[in-house]
């Protein structure tokens, strides 16, 4: 084993994660390797300082309000979904009415009506195409069964 192989054991030794056999192997190595001994000492000092870093505790009233913050987001999320669905329904309704009025209006030229119908057909085709693609990839998604 080279010194590099002992680096992982060094971390385990420092954090008390080694079993007795591993500990003995590493201590044996330390007896013969001054570089690892020096490095272990440096890591030990670093660990001591880092372990001393603690955060200032927050007041209880902040923790009491924490759930409200999460709950408000959940509630707002539902609000956004409802508003979006309602907006889409209203838009479709208003759009349909506007198109109906234009088609039925005898004062407007046939060219405008044909262009409008072509525009609607085009948008509908694009929408169906994108939707079909999404559904196809959802079915064929190789990662859909990956456990999270």
């Amino acid at each position: 084993m080279t010194c590099q192989d002992y680096k992982d054991l060094m971390m385990g030794y420092l954090d008390n994660e080694l079993d007795d056999d591993q500990k003995q192997i590493f201590e044996q190595h330390l007896l013969n390797c001054s570089d690892c001994k020096k490095e272990l000492q440096e890591f030990r000092q670093l660990k001591e300082i880092t372990d001393e870093v603690h955060f200032v505790e927050l007041e209880d009233r902040i923790w009491d309000r924490y759930w409200s913050g999460v709950y408000n987001r959940i509630e707002r999320g539902v609000g956004w979904i409802l508003s979006s669905v309602a907006a889409i329904i209203l838009l479709i309704y208003v759009g349909f009415k506007a198109i109906e009025d234009i088609i039925k209006d005898p004062t407007l030229g046939i060219l405008l009506k044909v262009a409008l119908l072509m525009l609607i057909t085009g948008i509908a085709t694009l929408f169906v195409s994108v939707l079909r693609e999404k559904l196809y990839f959802r079915k064929k998604d190789r990662y859909k069964d990956v456990r999270r």
Partner: protein
């Protein structure tokens, strides 16, 4: 990190059935841990609070993708981590724009200085330097230091949270500590 007890499995099933009270129980159980992890990642109180709450909201929204037999926290931790690091990347890009296209390392260094020292209890110069040096580590190494030192998780628990082996944890911890040591040596903290 709390283990996956039967109680949690039942709670998760209730959450899937749209029970907000069950989710509240889960939030109350993990909120401090979530906030402190986020704090270690982003270095300021306001962002840590906001990001940890947002992570719980997203967990609630996507709870159906979680298998009830699995532990909640490692799954939730992935959401929290992704949110925090996406936030950091945005901050870092903004900083780079402000400082007229500085290199990544300089942006990282500048960001480290934004780690608020007021958050440290019984602070002294060495603790503040370690805290700010943490802000200069890259994501992968900052994460392992936060989990090991600030959350005091065992290697097994870290491996569960990161979905990796214990050997990977050990190797990553070695490199993270070495980098932290290098940054501190540049700052002349006594770890030589």
């Amino acid at each position: 990190m709390t283990g996956c007890c039967k109680n949690e499995t039942v709670l998760l099933q209730q959450v899937k059935g749209n029970c907000k009270a069950a989710f509240e129980e889960i939030v109350r159980k993990y909120m401090k841990q979530a906030y402190h992890i986020a704090l270690g990642f982003v270095g300021n109180k306001e962002d840590a609070m906001d990001l940890s709450q947002e992570a719980f909201y997203r967990a609630y929204k996507n709870i159906n993708t979680l298998d009830c037999d699995r532990k909640f926290f490692p799954w939730f931790y992935q959401i929290l981590k992704n949110l925090c690091f996406t936030h950091l990347r945005k901050q870092s890009n903004r900083l780079r724009c402000q400082l007229d296209g500085v290199v990544e390392e300089t942006a990282q260094h500048e960001y480290g200085l934004k780690f608020n020292p007021e958050l440290i209890a019984e602070k002294n110069e060495n603790k503040v330097r370690v805290w700010q040096a943490l802000g200069q580590l890259d994501e992968k190494h900052r994460e392992i230091i936060v989990l090991r030192h600030f959350q005091n998780l065992s290697y097994k628990q870290i491996a569960e949270a990161l979905y990796c082996s214990k050997d990977t944890v050990t190797t990553r911890l070695y490199h993270a500590r070495r980098m932290l040591k290098q940054i501190l040596n540049r700052k002349e903290v006594d770890v030589k």
